[in-house]
Structure formats: C-alpha cells, structure tokens
C-alpha cells in the first residue's frame, strides 16, 4: 500500500496564531513559533514535518486560510 507524505505551508503574515489548527492535527505536526509576525502573532509552523500526512484537517479549520497543504504518494 502506498504511503503518503504531506507538508503544509503557512502564510506566516496571514496566520493570527489562534491555534485552532493544533487540536485537529492528529499527527502532532503543528506548533506555534517563538517568533512573531509583523502583527505580533506567534504563527503556526511544522514542528514535526516528518509526521505530516497532508490530511488537510488544519487547513479546513483555519479561519484565515493561512495554510496550504501538499501531499505525495511514496512507494512503501
């Protein structure tokens, strides 16, 4: 069965650091950065990128659509 590998790209200036993406990520990929963007928000980022499966859960709850999701199939 082919595995999938995913990754998210966060628009760090759009992200408002609301953290709503974190509880819906079933693979504990996301964390909030220590840095802040120009508006003073701690933006989301992939702390554990290897765990990301590109399930899009985070993207679909993000109110600002700051997250874009990518996914590839990899042979097992």
């Amino acid at each position: 069965m082919a595995k999938v590998k995913g990754a998210i790209v966060v628009d760090t200036e759009t992200c408002k650091g609301c953290e709503v993406c974190m509880p819906v990520c079933q693979d504990n990929v996301i964390s909030m950065s220590k840095e802040v963007n120009r508006k003073g928000y701690h933006y989301a980022y992939m702390e554990n990128p290897e765990a990301c499966t590109g399930c899009t859960n985070c993207a679909i709850v993000c109110p600002d659509r700051a997250i874009s999701v990518y996914r590839v199939k990899v042979s097992a």
Binding site: P23, I60, D64, S68, R71
Partner: protein, 257 residues
C-alpha cells in the same frame, strides 16, 4: 523525502479559494466567521455559479463580508437582509441569492424579516452565524445568549425573568411550511467544517428546486466576546452551546426530522 520536494505546485491538495479576496480578514483570531466565509465561497466556486450569485451582507462583525467575498454583494441595513434578498430573488429568479447574518441581525431586529421571508418560502439561502453575543459593538447580550451567560449588558449573567430565554430561531423557522431545508452546523473541527460545507452545498443546490428557504445555522465561538482563547472558546461552545443548540438536520426536503 524533503519538505521542499513535497511542496511542489503539482502536489497541492488544499489552498484558499480564489473566490476570497486577498484582503486580510478583519475577524478576531480563531473566529468561526472566517471558516464560514471560506466554506461558502468554496461551495460557490465548486458549483461554478460565481456569475449568478448575489450575496447580501449584514450589519455585525461580518458587515465587511463584501471586502472578503469575491462576488457581487449588497450590504443590507441591520436585520433587513431577508427583505433585501427577497426582492433580488423575485426580480432575478435565475440567480443564486443568499444572506449571511449574525444573531443580532437575524434574531433581534430582523425577526420579522426572517420569519416572513421563511413563511413566504423565498428562493434564498440564509446562513446564520450564531455565537450568542453581539461582537461588532463590543460584546452585548444577544437573543441567543445562554441563560447565565455574561455579556456587557448582562454582566451578572442572562436572567430569564427580566431578559427572556435564549431564542431558538432555527427550530422556529423549521415549523413554517416555507422552509425546505433547516440545519444546524458548526465549523470548529475538520469533521464539523466538512459537514457544514456539505450542508451549505445542499442549501445552494436546493435553490435549483425553488421549493423554499434553505436555512443553515452555524453555531460559532466568539472568543473575544466570551473572553477566552479560541480553543477554550470552542470547548466552551461544545460544553454549553451545543446542548441548547443541538447540531444536525432539523428539516430536510420540506419534512421535519
């Protein structure tokens, strides 16, 4: 595999719909409005009805919805969106007309317009974002504020004796023969957001049938008004709002469930 290999354009499986403009959303971090806006625009884009859709924006936090939704929109006076939409739907019977309203707009000042548009069975979609508070004006009590809930005009908690009970508009309008589809959804988790999107899609598809109003309530958080973090507000919503405003379909294809 390196991240850089994965994030190639051909591998993209999700991004913001092009039917939302580039204007940064003015909503508070974590507010359900942003998700509700995006789901609605995604539905319209996927249905291919951009050219035939006219939205009616309310007064409330989402008064500037037309800055974010990349479709033709008319801003309406507080509470009057269903009347505005009625006229547009009747004079342009082939268009997809929807209102997007908050709880003050739909359940306080706009009660008459809501009830009568539903009673007449207008061919419109009403999207009702219910967060039990008046966000735009700084957190006052709404008709849907829960008993005991604190707000700037119920600082000691909503008192039923003097302020009445929270109003369940959705159940009310479901009783009217003019409503065809009545449902209550939320957007705080991926599962709920996906279900809400399906409901919104169903609502817009129903416009082709001309069988009455499709009424989609979206129970949402208002972390600023409730004075909590977004995730805490969502948890509070699950624990307190959902028991009073239960999620699910209330009326489908003109029949109460």
């Amino acid at each position: 595999m390196e991240v850089l290999d994965i994030i190639k354009p051909e591998n993209q499986v999700f991004c913001k719909t092009k039917l939302m403009t580039d204007t940064p959303l003015s909503y508070c971090p974590g507010c359900g409005h942003g998700t509700a806006h995006n789901l609605t625009m995604e539905v319209i884009d996927e249905m291919g009805i951009t050219e035939d859709t006219i939205g009616v924006a309310p007064v409330g936090c989402s008064v500037l919805a037309y800055d974010f939704m990349n479709i033709d929109m008319t801003q309406a006076a507080h509470g009057r969106a269903p009347a505005v939409a009625t006229a547009i739907a009747r004079t342009w019977p082939k268009k997809y007309v929807f209102t997007y309203q908050g709880d003050g707009d739909l359940a306080a000042i706009g009660t008459a317009e809501t009830i009568h548009a539903c009673n007449r069975g207008e061919n419109i979609v009403i999207i009702f974002v219910n967060n039990g508070i008046y966000g735009m004006t700084g957190g006052q009590m709404a008709p849907t504020t829960l008993e005991g809930m604190k707000s700037s005009t119920s600082p000691f908690g909503r008192d039923i004796q003097t302020m009445g009970s929270p109003l369940k508009m959705t159940e009310l309008v479901a009783q009217l023969p003019g409503t065809y589809y009545v449902t209550r959804q939320s957007v705080h988790t991926h599962k709920h957001a996906r279900k809400a999107k399906k409901a919104i899609r169903q609502a817009f598809e129903n416009l082709k049938l001309k069988k009455g109003v499709s009424f989609v309530e979206i129970v949402s958080n208002c972390n600023s008004g409730w004075k909590m973090t977004p995730n805490d507000a969502n948890e509070w919503m699950v624990d307190n709002m959902f028991p009073y405003y239960p999620l699910g379909d209330i009326k489908v294809n003109g029949k109460l469930k």
